[in-house]
């Protein structure tokens, strides 16, 4: 009994301190005692967020509370506390329903007029068995989300030795690492006929020779998509002429030439400053008798 009374006395007092909006309205009724509290609240509202009340459900034994669910509902005054989040702009936009149908003109035989076509059509096949649930896998990310690493020995301006591809053995200058992890590299073209090209980190030897490329601006549009090989894939009537339509001969586009010029002109100036570097870049790397790669210092 005494306990209950104390609890009920606690309720109005705590209510005012604990709850902000509904509490504020109620304190208007109980003026003298609560005015101080409400003033405090306004001041405190700005500083602290919410003072959480201790558990209103005293523990009888571990896991067992004194009051039932419905009693707690009343004790916590949840009948008053019903919040909805304010409607955000996104939700407002979402209310605009997307277009369900589109009207298209009728051609062909019954020319003229228009017909209404659904944009999103019902599926034309339902499998007899549901698709089996896939097993959960952990940490298997798609390629685009892989972590890209770069060896510490490769920094912008490093001279690299290409080991594979048509430019094997050539010494080349590293510019930057692209989004897929491949290295953007340039000859420069006038020195060793290596254009702006991608190279794979694993098939490259990083030498300790570095050129200062700090101020060089590489155009932003040089990405993987720019360098990716293009494949035509839409022969409408496959009547044996497939191979002619596919692009066999690679043609150097004007954009590539202009990009090459833009980058190389900046780099060539810096290469000229280092004596003998130009000749070094022109030469190719090779092994001969008595030269062992594991003993060489690059």
């Amino acid at each position: 009994m005494a306990g209950e009374k104390a609890a009920s006395e606690k309720k109005p007092g705590e209510k005012a301190a604990g709850e902000k909006k509904p509490g504020k309205k109620k304190t208007a009724e109980k003026k003298p005692a609560e005015q101080k509290a409400s003033q405090k609240e306004v001041g405190e509202k700005k500083k602290k967020i919410k003072k959480h009340h201790a558990s209103r459900n005293p523990v009888l034994a571990r896991g067992i509370g004194r009051y039932s669910r419905s009693a707690m509902y009343a004790r916590k005054a949840l009948y008053k506390r019903k919040y909805t989040a304010p409607e955000t702009k996104i939700e407002k936009k979402k209310k605009e329903k997307p277009r369900a149908t589109i009207t298209k003109p009728v051609g062909g035989d019954k020319n003229g007029g228009s017909r209404v076509v659904k944009i999103r059509k019902m599926p034309r096949y339902y499998p007899t068995e549901d698709v089996p649930r896939k097993l959960l896998s952990h940490g298997k990310k798609p390629f685009c989300q892989h972590k890209r690493r770069l060896r510490a020995s490769i920094t912008p301006g490093t001279v690299l030795i290409l080991l594979t591809g048509r430019h094997r053995g050539k010494r080349v200058i590293f510019l930057k690492q692209l989004a897929t992890g491949l290295l953007l590299v340039t000859g420069p073209l006038v020195i060793n006929r290596v254009p702006l090209r991608r190279a794979h980190q694993k098939f490259v030897i990083a030498t300790s020779t570095k050129v200062d490329i700090s101020g060089v601006k590489i155009p932003k549009h040089l990405t993987d998509a720019y360098f990716k090989k293009k494949r035509l894939r839409k022969p409408k009537h496959q009547e044996g002429e497939i191979f002619d339509t596919e692009k066999e001969k690679y043609e150097i586009t004007e954009q590539r030439k202009s990009d090459q010029k833009a980058v190389d002109s900046q780099i060539l100036a810096r290469i000229k400053k280092v004596p003998q570097l130009r000749g070094y870049l022109r030469s190719t790397f090779c092994l001969s008798n008595g030269v062992y790669p594991h003993k060489l210092v690059f």
Partner: protein, 166 residues
């Protein structure tokens, strides 16, 4: 037949082991295989060391057997062994070997270019000599030209060594 002997005060070069590459002085002989050795100016503590890992140098210091480290150090500094050692061909060869191993790819390219240029100059002079000797008589011209042309290739060695050091 043998010119360098194991004696008290003989400076030896350690060829392998934890102290490889350092100089020590033989202070005393322990038995057939080991010596008491001390290298105060080369960072080797006084210890026993087998003869096998020592290679004798030309330098001998003067101190009595079992002399303490201070005496060895005094004798070492009096004779200025560190500087004398650095001036020997032996030490220079070691240094050249180390430099060659540290060469980077760019350095190797530069050395190759320098060597090529030097050989070209030498060949040029040789060709000149041969022409001279084949055209005129052998004795008078050849003896005159030989010492002159030998000086030219030797002066090219110096820039090549400098480039290797870079």
């Amino acid at each position: 037949v043998f010119k360098r002997f194991v004696e008290i005060g003989r400076v030896a070069f350690i060829s392998f082991g934890p102290h490889a590459g350092k100089l020590v002085a033989i202070v005393d002989v322990i038995d057939q295989n080991r010596a008491l050795v001390d290298g105060p100016c080369s960072g080797v503590r006084r210890q026993a060391m087998p003869f096998k890992c020592m290679q004798l140098t030309d330098f001998v210091l003067k101190f009595p057997h079992s002399a303490r480290q201070k005496c060895v150090r005094l004798a070492w500094e009096k004779e200025n062994i560190n500087e004398k050692w650095a001036a020997t061909r032996w030490a220079k060869k070691i240094e050249a070997r180390e430099k060659k191993a540290k060469m980077t790819d760019f350095d190797r390219y530069k050395v190759m270019k320098a060597k090529k240029m030097r050989n070209r100059i030498i060949k040029h002079e040789m060709k000149k000599l041969q022409k001279m000797s084949s055209k005129k008589g052998k004795k008078p011209e050849k003896s005159e030209k030989a010492p002159k042309s030998e000086k030219a290739p030797k002066s090219e060695k110096a820039p090549k060594a400098q480039k290797a050091q870079k």
